[in-house]
Amino acid sequence: MAGSLMFQYQPGSSVLHRSDIRVKLIIMIALSLVLIQVSVFRLSLLLPFLLLLQCSLKRRPLPPPLPVLFMPALIFTGNFLSLAAGDALLSSALITAGLRTVRFTFILWMAQLFTETSDPMCLTPAFYRLLKHIPLIPAGRISTQLGLSLTLIPVILEEMNEIRDAMISRCGWNPRSPLKNLVHMGQPLLNGVLLKAEALSDAMEARLFTEDSTEPELLGSSSVLLPLLAGSLFILILLAGEYVLSRSGSSSFFVQFF
């Protein structure tokens, strides 16, 4: 099960793989923000961009897990039914629901592109480099905290499974008293967590943990400038094009929805 944590990162050497994680992160967040308001224009301009990135990976896209396929359908039906049940026209209900669904799919797609090409091991150093420019934010502490939790997740997951199995094998599960089950499982789990925290903080203190340590290394070669330029250029074109075109012709192309 611990393996599923990393199932999304696929090592490779494509352009996206070589781009700096910080840049990818910023562009992804910027595009998500642009998509808070959607129009046919925005979405149709984004499609070739995403397709281009997908093709640059030079491999077949991974089949998404089932619940992910299910979500857009759910969003569409949910939106459409409730819009149609309201006083919206059938056609506009269809368009709004459709746009919202496409938006969701696009964001999911971007997230997938990001995780597929970003080594989680480089994430915390990258985060540190991002945060340290923001005043008043303890960047060192936050990135250490993130790194620590990443190492602890599999350990704790294992412990959870062990405790559950031990309880089941000792017939500790009583289907009729779920509350008791939860408390009986939570107690050893939280005790274990505290012991772990005690040991870990001792070890960190013994190894002189400090916030302003030597900066963590950014692993691998990463190019910054080109992807940053390309990304901002794309967003600029998108916004500028929209501004210019929407003034000349007022088609439903540019109508914006939340």
Binding site: Q8, S32, V183, Q187, L200
Partner: protein, 186 residues
């Protein structure tokens, strides 16, 4: 760095890991398997205090945003945060703060009062998750109030009661040990 700060950082990290790990993990309680994420979100504040809890949940959200599949059902990303259930994730930030402030008994309080505060803290914290969650759901799926409640609240009520009662019991039983850890006598 001071012992005190190290301990807070470590405890927050451990809670983050606990919250994240719990989203991969279902337990057979009653007829349907349930996910314990919300229980640990509440407990992170009640046991670690408001700020440790907040920083634990904040890092959990960051892990999800940067793409680790730690949100319910192994999903991740800003997409999830902006999707119909994103409001619940925002509610995760409120829960530990409330839980930590309400259940903060100095050692000498009467046992009865402690129990009361534990229950109050757990249920208030648990309820706060739904406060941004349900309007967000209503808005993002353009539902009306009855159907938003039908979809986002009513099916979860039994689980809500069980998990928050368990959180209260666990917080009551373990608070002193966690407080001693954070007090960090040398």
């Amino acid at each position: 760095m001071s012992k005190d700060k190290i301990r807070k950082t470590v405890l927050a990290a451990v809670f983050t890991a606990l919250i994240a790990a719990s989203s991969f993990f279902t337990i057979p309680v009653g007829p349907v398997p349930i996910v314990l994420t919300t229980m640990f979100v509440v407990l992170s504040g009640m046991l670690g205090g408001p700020w440790v809890g907040l920083s634990a949940v904040g890092s959990y959200l960051i892990l999800g945003i940067i793409g680790l599949p730690v949100f319910a059902g192994g999903t991740a990303g800003i997409a999830k945060l902006m999707g119909p259930t994103g409001g619940f994730l925002i509610g995760y930030l409120l829960a530990p703060v409330a839980g930590g402030f309400i259940f903060n008994p100095p050692g000498d309080k009467a046992k009865g009062l402690k129990v009361l505060l534990a229950v109050l803290g757990a249920f208030t914290a648990g309820a706060l998750i739904y406060v941004p969650g349900i309007p967000w759901l209503k808005y993002s799926l353009s539902m009306d109030w009855p159907s938003a409640l039908q979809a986002g609240l009513i099916p979860f009520i039994p689980g809500f009661i069980i998990k928050n009662a368990a959180a209260a019991a666990l917080a009551f039983a373990l608070k002193e040990r966690f407080q001693n850890f954070l007090k960090s006598e040398e």
